[in-house]
Symmetry: C2
Subunit: 461 residues, 2 copies
Amino acid sequence: MKRISKLFQPSLIIPKNAVVKNQDITSKSQRLMLENGLIRQAGNGTFHLLPLLQRSLQKAVNLIDHHMEMVGAQKLTLPLLTSAELWKKSGRIGEDSTRGGTATELLQTTDRHGKVQILGPTHEESVTSLLAAIAPVSYRQFPLRLYQISTKFRDEMKPRFGLMRAKEFLMKDLYTFDVDIGKCRETYEEVNEAYNRLFSALEVPFIKVSGDCGTMGGSLSHEYHFLSDVGEDALVRCSRCGIHSNEELFQTLSKQCKICTGIETYDRQTGIEIAHAFVLEDRYTKVLAATCLQPNGKPTSLQMGCFGIGVTRLIAASIEVLSSNKEIRWPSALAPYRVCIVSPKAGSKEEPLSLPWVERLYHDLQTVKGCEGEVIVDDRSQLTIGKRVLDARKIGYPVIVVVGSKSVHGDAFELHNLFAGTEQNLSYNDTLSTIATILSKQNSMQHKTQSYEKTALVNEN
Amino acid sequence: MKRISKLFQPSLIIPKNAVVKNQDITSKSQRLMLENGLIRQAGNGTFHLLPLLQRSLQKAVNLIDHHMEMVGAQKLTLPLLTSAELWKKSGRIGEDSTRGGTATELLQTTDRHGKVQILGPTHEESVTSLLAAIAPVSYRQFPLRLYQISTKFRDEMKPRFGLMRAKEFLMKDLYTFDVDIGKCRETYEEVNEAYNRLFSALEVPFIKVSGDCGTMGGSLSHEYHFLSDVGEDALVRCSRCGIHSNEELFQTLSKQCKICTGIETYDRQTGIEIAHAFVLEDRYTKVLAATCLQPNGKPTSLQMGCFGIGVTRLIAASIEVLSSNKEIRWPSALAPYRVCIVSPKAGSKEEPLSLPWVERLYHDLQTVKGCEGEVIVDDRSQLTIGKRVLDARKIGYPVIVVVGSKSVHGDAFELHNLFAGTEQNLSYNDTLSTIATILSKQNSMQHKTQSYEKTALVNEN
């Protein structure tokens, strides 16, 4: 049985009137994660991800794996250390390895033989050199879609917002390779549709906006954002054509809409970028010589795309958007546990007769679809039931069941459904069936595209 | 359907008479992995882990997770970047951050604010500082067992043997904390038993030997080795008491057995170290102030243990030990796929009638226990069946089924069982039931301790 008394969940108590330095706690999600023992700060921009959050992270990884597999992407691992030589070849760092220009956020390490290596935020050079080593590849091998989920690094000037802008973070990076630009754009559409399904499954309102190709190069780019006040990206929506874009892009084009070239009024919102997609064309493949053999026998440069999702950021941003100031709310798919059972108070009259119901409920729930391994018992029975229900609501377990004084004869179990915001007293059998219904509804919602997001998609070309 | 034609598996062709430089390919497992498209070299001591190997890696991670959960260990993520300040406090690097003495193998990076950070091979400082930040912790919280599976770094002078001695590798590191030395030693025994179960499940002969505490500090240490000629550790077995130990330790004690103090004859073997266990006592907790509150209200330093498993090394070492010079053999638990179906040759007489049997077999196998998602079809039908069977045997899929000319009416399917070394022609139904039997036998073997390893354990105290 999984027990909260055994869980390593060291909450940080932040006194209400404490003078908390701005650089320490700069977002709601960061504060809630610290207070509820999900993370601990390790250094400037680095965090320990504690066991409850680790579970959530694993669920995000599984969800991403699922959607990547659906588009035929194959998972691999590229080394975290990439030779600086490759970055020089692509032109993203200078010949002298200095971190000038766009490379100021790159962390480097030099090995005992004097070789400089990059701890990269992204791996275009690395994966392209892998393709180049086996080039030219027959056109039959394409489309080729390779991704990894691994730790990335960015030497932020000012890390902030907890996991949302950290120095070290978990990221999914997918690289696609096609034989020509037409196929490359087809791949781009396919992956964007997969992103739409993936973010819809999280049920956090998101929008897809035109993005800036920036230092990545390439010809087409979109960003995915959760709308939030703490978002660092200003997003604008052209009132003439309705298309969203990143304000950076908007301003680059002298406040002209990129799509309809209108210079009309526009709406402004702020968003947290959770994903980014690029058509890179032959920006990297040409210079690193990653080619394919066309049916006519001629080698030509591969057409490349890249697609990132900030995994740790995705979780933090979800919490930022869904939570109140006091209570965490998770996307149902990412909650660390789906059900929390609160056991009777130690020494209470009801304890001897209620306790067996905790065991029984725990074990019966393991056979409910979507519930296996997803139940935790708050057995800190020295605390009152009320205190533990408050804690469970703060952590945001989607379903909370109290086994208390009314449960002695299996008559009534108090069931909190945090998504519906309801509380009911139910018989034992009704408790089981109601939990099954709640979870199956959540499961099916994860496969449904919501109207909100459909609207966002319709706005796009 | 998972198809080999779509698999990213770029084999490296190493001409028989090629002058292969010694530093390039220095072990059988490295050569086999390169030839079979499991890995590609990225830099000196760094490798791309390709999709087939990625699957094997995921299975190793799941297996380790399972055995860690069995001893109540909780998974978390510590940052890869650890402040050099912490390493100075523990005394493992000098005050001037130089990599003198034991620290020569540490990679470092300096951020834009001039802070030096270690890309560590191990995380004692990091996890102890996490505990110290919440100290003193009530004695009720213990035993506390925290582990992670993450990328580690070692600035090897001479990386070699492929994944066995790489600069960047995947490692499981478990840290245990207890209230006193007695409990710490109980934890040590418990985790060592878990290691025994875990390595027994792999069915690769291993031995447990007394190890040197070396730069880790602490009072007790054991290593786990696969016996192999390419092993870099010399192991000796005292002929008086029968206990194994690392020769380093043996020599330190002037060729005297540590256990029985005998100076008798001894046997010598070489091993590949796959895991290491240490009782660290208060070596780190004292200097970093990680304390617990005893029942009498007094804070005392925690008693610590640490337990590593090289995950990428474990896979490479398994291949090294189990494979022939030409064909890979995996521990059944770690094979990338468990069954490979070879489809009929394109354009052959039998193709139109045999092909539907491939589909049917693939789908029926998904419902066989242990087979879901574990079947891949070699659909490269432009190649002969013979060539593809050779390939499948080289990769080492434990079960290979040929759907060929005899399968037209579902009469006979050629089944290769690589573990038993048998080949049979079976009817369709017998093919299904035989595969079920083979896999269930493998599943149950994974939960059985073999006599060989029991002997090794009996030798230990």
